[in-house]
Symmetry: C2
Subunit: 248 residues, 2 copies
DNA sequence: CGTTAACTTGACGGCCCTCAAGAGAGGTGG
DNA sequence: CCACCTCTCTTGAGGGCCGTCAAGTTAACG
C-alpha cells in the first residue's frame, strides 16, 4: 500500500533519533563548550525525549505551559506571535543547533508559537531537570547563561535592523546572516533553500511580501543573487555587504 | 566656596548608598522573589560596590571587559550601539530596579554603551561571584534565568513595535509602557519627566526626531496628552490604548 | 485538468524622511 | 543681570520609499 511508505520513513528517522548528547554532532552549537565525558553522560540522562515535528505542526503554542526547552537536531522553525486582529508577527527563524523556548522561563508560559516550516527533529530538555543538573555542573550553568545572553545580543541586532535599515539593507543583512548560519553548520554559504514564504520573511523583516519579492528581483537584476522561487544563490556577497554601508 | 556644595551633595548621596540588599527597597524588582533572610545576607556580601554615575557618563562601553552586571538603584540610563558612520541606535531605556549588562555574558565583552541620562546610583554585582553564589542558592539561580528570559520576551515586543507599528502606534505604546514602569515603581502613572531627547527617543522607536515632535504635538491637539518640553502628562490613557488597536 | 497557494509585477497613494528656518531653554562670561 | 552661544524642540514644504490594491503567472497537488 502507498500508505505504508511515509510511516516507514518516519520510523527510520525515529531510529536515527536514538542518539545521546555524548554522540551528538550538534553539541558544539547546542551547549557550546567545556564538557567532560562524565558531564555528557549526565546530560544524556535527561534528554531522553526526542521527537519529530512535521511541517506545519506546532512545537508549542502561546499560552501553553512551559516545561522544557528544545534543541533543534534538524529542520527549520519559525516563532511568531498572533494578534487579536489576526495579524501575525514572525519573531525568528531557527535551525539545527538552535535552542528554542528560553523566553518562557520568566512567565512559565510560552509567549509565542513555534511552528515547523519543514519536518524537523527536536530534542526536548525538561527544564526542571536541566536546572537541577546545572546546580551541580558549573559548565552547564555557564552555557545556559551564554545561550540566553547570545539571544539577547542577537535580538538587539534585529532591533537595529528594524529600526534603522531600509528595505534593501534589511534583506541583504538577512541573506548574509542566513548564509553564515548555514555555513557554520557545514552547508553551502552560497546556495540554499528558503524555508519560509515571502510573507513570513516580510513579517520578520517588517516589510510586505510584495516588497520582499520586488527586492529579490532587483538584487537578481543587479547580479547580486540568483533567485528561483525559494532557491537562493549568493553571487556577490561582498556586493551585498556593501549595501549595508555603515550599518552592521 | 561655591565649589564645595556639589562635593557635599555627592557625599550625602554616597552615604545613602551604604545599604545592603537585605534592606534594599528595590529587591522585589531587582531579584524578584523567594529569598529568605540567610540568602539575603549572602547577597549582601557580594554587592559591596555601589557608585554614582553622573549625567552623560558611561557605565560601560562597547568592547570593554565584562566583569559585572549592574542593578539601577536610582536614575535613568540609555543603552546604545554606535556605528562606523557615526549613527547611533538606542537599544533601551533603563530605570530603577532594572538590571543592565546581561547581553555581555556570552562574549564576555560589552556589546553596547550604557550612558546615564541623569545622575544615577548603581549597584555593581561581580558576575563571577554571582555565578558561584547561584550554584549553591537555587532561588538566585532561578531569578537570574527569569530576568534574562524577561529581557528576551520584552525585546520581542520591541521587535513587534519596530516591525509592525506605525509612528503614532509606536509612540503610544512607548508612553503606555513608560507609564506602567513608573507606576510599578511608585511614581505617578499620569505625569512624568522624559529623561531622553527627542532624538534618542526617535532612535529607540525607529523614527526621526521631527516625527516624534510632530506626533507629540498631534497627541496634544487631540487631548490625549499634555506636553511641556520633557514633561509629559497622560490625559486619556484609554485613548492611547485605543490607538494600538489590535496590536500589543 | 482543475484548484489553491505562492510569487511576480505594475500603478498609485500615504506615511515618514529630508531639508530648512525659527523659537525656547539653559549655561557661561562679562 | 544680561548678552551670547549652544542644544533642543517645533513647524513647514517637498520628495522618496514602501504599502495598498489589483491582475496575472507559476508550481504543487489531488
Amino acid at each position: 500500500m502507498a500508505m505504508t511508505e511515509p510511516i516507514l520513513k518516519e520510523q527510520n528517522i525515529l531510529k536515527q533519533l536514538k542518539v545521546v548528547c555524548s554522540l551528538c554532532s550538534l553539541r558544539e552549537l547546542c551547549l557550546p563548550i567545556g564538557f567532560g565525558p562524565d558531564e555528557l553522560q549526565q546530560l544524556d540522562a535527561l534528554t531522553g525525549s526526542k521527537r519529530l515535528v512535521k511541517r506545519g505542526e506546532h512545537l508549542y503554542r502561546t499560552g501553553s505551559e512551559f516545561t522544557a526547552i528544545y534543541a533543534i537536531r534538524g529542520g527549520f522553525f519559525k516563532t511568531s506571535v498572533l494578534h487579536d486582529d489576526g495579524r501575525e508577527h514572525v519573531t525568528g527563524f531557527h535551525m539545527m543547533g538552535d535552542i528554542m523556548g528560553l523566553d518562557a522561563i520568566s512567565t512559565e508560559t510560552h509567549v509565542c508559537d513555534a511552528v515547523a516550516l519543514e519536518t524537523s527533529e527536536i530534542c526536548e530538555i525538561p527544564f526542571d531537570k536541566l536546572s537541577e543538573l546545572s546546580m551541580v555542573m558549573p559548565v552547564l550553568h555557564q552555557n545556559l547563561h551564554k545561550i540566553m545572553s547570545r539571544e539577547i545580543a542577537f535580538d538587539h541586532e534585529i532591533m537595529l535592523m528594524l529600526g534603522k535599515m531600509r528595505a534593501e539593507e534589511r534583506l541583504a543583512a538577512f541573506l548574509i546572516n542566513l548564509s553564515q548560519r548555514f555555513s557554520a553548520r557545514g552547508y553551502s554559504a552560497a546556495s540554499f533553500q528558503l524555508r519560509m514564504t515571502r510573507e513570513e520573511l516580510g513579517s520578520y523583516l517588517g516589510l510586505k511580501l510584495e516588497t520582499v519579492s520586488r527586492i529579490f528581483s532587483k538584487f537578481q537584476e543587479e547580479g547580486l543573487i540568483g533567485v528561483q522561487k525559494k532557491l537562493i544563490e549568493l553571487k556577490d556577497t561582498n556586493g551585498l555587504k556593501r549595501l549595508l554601508g555603515g550599518l552592521a
